[in-house]
């Protein structure tokens, strides 16, 4: 294999060419991947300096580059050696010399490869790792392949060909027709057919119009858009330019969360590069089409993911939604027709134009075409970013790709769609995932957060978590959302504290219905979903909290009995010192005891103990 990529030095010796690609997504960066990249560069430099033609073949090209997120965040930092088809997991700085030495001998370092949990066999590259095997990476195809900071790398992988094709060979109407034929639906959550949206903007009153890319990924537990913007920023810009050409806009805005500094930095760089190469600016690709993009940083407000709120925010105001219609397609930014799509939607467009609508629509279900990215997190072994064809089952995602639940626990539910979505219980694990089937289960696609829960997760607490989120993020404009979410939250808090009342469940249900039907925007209309869907699928758990004063998952402090495991207690007195009600007694170096009559269930002892001796059941 090495022979094919050999370099021949001036002295005539053959030295292998290797390149090293290091994942620089957020997960891997936090695990030290940038320091790792420096270590690789340093090691290669040192070896090259020390090398003589006869002694070592380390003068090879040795290109060390960073890439976007590979998605396999659980195994980071990830290092790829593409010439050898290798992917290394959890690489430490001290592994660098060994990787290079082995690399130049064209052999893998076995201990750093991913080992299939099923039979402990080492997996060489991505195609062998179960996490990647069932995925179909299209939107993410270049994420983890290209250097996000190099436009040349993007172009070398076919980048900006779709824009060239659209501008030179297609009419705006032809582009819209192609997007319509592909069946692409808005990937931000609602699932509105994108082609139709484009058509509405194109057919709106003549005059100035705008394109906005919604990168305000506020859903907690979701990081798909972040990975695309960080890993393949040019794909987003290209998609926006194609959209602008189709609807006749000359100015675009890319709205990014301020919490994503790396994405902002890479997009800024990509913008500069695209302008220099003439993919943005005036007379793009020698056609009369002019288009330029500004980056707008958000400032931390979940409601700004709602399109009318986002428009307010771009205008520099409080991000408060307004009633629709009129839709932004007719009356948007500065009252002009505006095309708003999500990051993933725009990133899908170049593939549709370059490879045709048929290829895009060749996977998926009858009603939902293409692929969808999910941020797979929570109680699952392989946490990461996955892209799968529509119609795949939850079981395939959680067990085949996700590698199942840690510690041999049982799958209980998956929460899809974040604060707007709902829970899918184990009973429906074989239901296909697409826009319509999720809706029928009381969940929704949302932006693609998929949080797995095991039997130690309390569903009432999950409902409370999302309600807390919505109550806090409600912009306060309309009372059903502002007050209603607060009232629902109070009831849920009460239930978790063991003070639930018999008709609480009915109250939650009727409040939820009212908030859903009377709120102004999507935030309020979907805020009750997590609660309603947990009641629908886990009613007995609510009843256990209320009637039985018992938390089946042993998570709600107020409903637990705290005791001390005599075997583990070292008599350190930490728990007794932490206890605010003096319920714990015991002498130094003797086993301690909890007086249940005095215990106020605050959980302070559980936090204080560093022996794991406090048991809460």
């Amino acid at each position: 294999m090495i022979a094919a990529t050999d370099l021949v030095t001036d002295a005539g010796a053959r030295v292998p060419r290797l390149s090293v690609r290091i994942c620089a997504g957020t997960g891997c960066v936090a695990m030290g991947s940038l320091r790792l990249a420096d270590r690789f560069r340093e090691e290669i430099r040192q070896r090259a300096a020390a090398a003589t033609v006869e002694t070592t073949p380390c003068q090879g090209d040795g290109r060390v580059s960073i890439t976007g997120c590979h998605g396999f965040c659980a195994a980071g930092p990830l290092v790829k050696i593409p010439e050898l088809g290798l992917m290394y997991c959890r690489v430490q700085e001290r592994d660098v010399p060994e990787i290079l030495t082995a690399g130049f001998d064209a052999r893998p370092v076995d201990r750093l490869l991913f080992h299939d949990p099923a039979d402990q066999s080492p997996c060489k590259g991505e195609s062998d790792i179960p996490f990647f095997r069932k995925q179909l990476r299209r939107t993410l195809a270049l994420c983890g392949e290209v250097d996000p900071e190099s436009i040349d790398d993007y172009i070398a992988h076919g980048g900006y060909e779709a824009l060239r094709k659209a501008l030179r060979e297609m009419t705006p109407a032809g582009v819209i027709h192609e997007v319509k034929r592909s069946g692409l639906q808005g990937r931000g959550g609602g699932g509105f057919p994108s082609g139709l949206k484009w058509q509405f903007v194109a057919e709106a009153e003549p005059g100035e119009r705008f394109v906005i890319c919604n990168g305000d990924e506020g859903d907690p537990g979701a990081f798909m858009d972040r990975s695309v913007m960080e890993g393949d920023p040019h794909a987003v810009l290209e998609g926006m330019a194609i959209g602008a050409y189709a609807v006749g806009a000359s100015r675009g805005f890319l709205y990014v969360r301020a919490e994503y500094p790396l994405a902002v930095e890479r997009l800024r760089l990509a913008l500069r590069q695209a302008r220099e190469r003439g993919f943005l600016g005036d007379a793009i690709l020698e056609t009369p089409f002019n288009f330029d993009i500004s980056i707008v940083e958000g400032a931390g407000a979940f409601v700004c993911g709602e399109e009318t709120a986002l428009i307010q925010s771009v205008e520099g105001k409080r991000g408060m939604p307004r009633p629709r219609p009129p839709y932004p397609a007719v009356h948007g930014l500065w009252s002009k027709p505006t095309l708003i799509n999500n990051v993933e939607t725009f990133a899908s467009v170049s593939g549709i134009i370059a490879h045709g609508a048929e290829q895009f629509a060749s996977v998926g279900t009858r009603l939902s075409k293409g692929t969808k990215t999910f941020a797979l997190t929570g109680k699952v072994n392989n946490i990461g970013l996955v892209e799968v064809p529509m119609g795949i089952t939850l079981r395939e995602i959680v067990f085949d790709i996700g590698g199942g639940i840690p510690d041999g626990r049982e799958f209980k539910a998956a929460q899809i769609g974040g604060p707007s979505g709902g829970c899918i219980p184990a009973a429906f694990i074989d239901a296909p995932i697409d826009y319509t089937s999720l809706q029928s289960l009381g969940a929704m696609m949302g932006s693609g957060g998929l949080v797995v829960m095991d039997d130690s997760t309390c569903m009432v607490k999950v409902a409370r978590f999302f309600m807390e989120f919505c109550a806090e993020e409600s912009c306060g404009k309309c009372p059903p959302c502002r007050i209603g979410t607060q009232v629902m939250l109070n009831i849920l808090k009460r239930i978790c504290e063991g003070k639930g009342e018999p008709d609480d469940i009915e109250h939650l249900e009727s409040l939820g219905e009212h908030i859903r039907s009377s709120s102004l925007c999507g935030l309020g209309q979907t805020a009750p979903n997590p609660t309603l869907s947990t009641i629908r699928h886990f009613r007995s758990e609510f009843e256990a909290h209320i009637g039985g004063r018992h938390c089946p998952a042993h998570e709600c402090n107020a409903l637990l009995t705290f005791s001390i495991d005599e075997e583990r207690c070292s008599g350190c007195t930490l728990c007794a010192k932490a206890c605010p009600s003096n319920a714990i007694s015991g002498e130094l170096k003797h086993v301690h005891h909890v007086n249940q009559d005095l215990c106020i269930h605050c959980g302070a002892c559980l936090t204080a103990c560093n022996q794991g001796a406090v048991v809460a059941l």
């Binding site: 957020t26 997960g27 960066v29 936090a30 695990m31 965040c73 659980a74 980071g76 990924e217 506020g218 859903d219 907690p220 537990g221 979701a222 990081f223 972040r226 301020a258 919490e259 994503y260 500094p261 707008v296 940083e297 958000g298 400032a299 931390g300 407000a301 979940f302 925010s313 771009v314 205008e315 520099g316 105001k317 409080r318 991000g319 941020a375 997190t377 929570g378 109680k379 946490i383 990461g384 929460q415 974040g418 957060g449 949080v451 797995v452 829960m453 997760t457 999950v462 978590f465 999302f466 989120f469 912009c475 932490a578 959980g603 302070a604 936090t607 204080a608 560093n610």
Partner: protein
């Protein structure tokens, strides 16, 4: 006065000491002068209208660390808004803060993945170690605690950010050790540069 420094960052404008009164709780010399000049430069370099407000606030906060009311007033003058039009935007967005941050700002991620993996234990541990409740700043200004929505590091849940650095896969004991480490680092720094911090503390009152 010092007590109000540790006031949680919630409530309405009416609760904020100094805003409707004459004096701010922070003396003017605490706001770095560069913040004012940075804002001036930004506005001069970016002609436009009111849509510049959020970028200008970002710029101001990145230099000053927070958005004191004097700075907000200054921004209002520069781009032709009334102070309350600036304040309504500042108070709407979580990213903007009207109180100073700690030397080590502990941001506990409250995203779903971290929630499922017991982020609340991390908050408990921070409270036990530092006595802070969310939104507070310790009296010596070494630690500030805030709860943030998803930092996108779900693969490392539960995770916290200390200033801009992500620490993941934490449990109570690891967090305890982290805080001790940071506290020692702050002490060492203060010992090496005694005038600065001690004096800074006194001028607050």
């Amino acid at each position: 006065m010092k007590a109000s420094v540790t006031k949680p960052e919630t409530g309405t404008a009416g609760d904020i000491p100094g805003y409707f009164g004459s004096a701010s709780i922070y003396s003017r010399d605490e706001i770095p002068a560069e913040a004012f000049s940075a804002v001036d430069e930004y506005v001069a370099a970016h002609p436009g209208g009111h849509e510049r407000l959020i970028p200008v606030l970002h710029c101001a906060q990145s230099v000053a660390g927070y958005l004191p009311f004097e700075l907000q007033d200054h921004i209002a003058d520069l781009i032709g808004l009334s102070p309350v039009q600036v304040y309504e935007v500042v108070s709407f967005y979580h990213f903007f803060s009207t109180t100073p941050k700690g030397q080590y700002q502990l941001k506990v991620c409250m995203g779903t993945a971290c929630f499922v993996r017991h982020a609340e234990h991390l908050i408990d541990a921070i409270q036990t170690e530092t006595g802070l409740v969310p939104g507070q700043l310790s009296e010596d200004r070494v630690f500030g605690l805030e709860l943030v929505r998803c930092i996108g590091a779900c693969g490392l849940a539960p995770a916290i950010m200390v200033n801009n650095e992500v620490h993941g896969n934490l449990d109570r004991n690891m967090l305890r050790r982290l805080i001790k480490r940071l506290r020692n680092k702050a002490r060492a720094k203060a010992a090496a540069d005694p005038g600065d911090r001690a004096a800074g503390k006194e001028t607050v009152a």
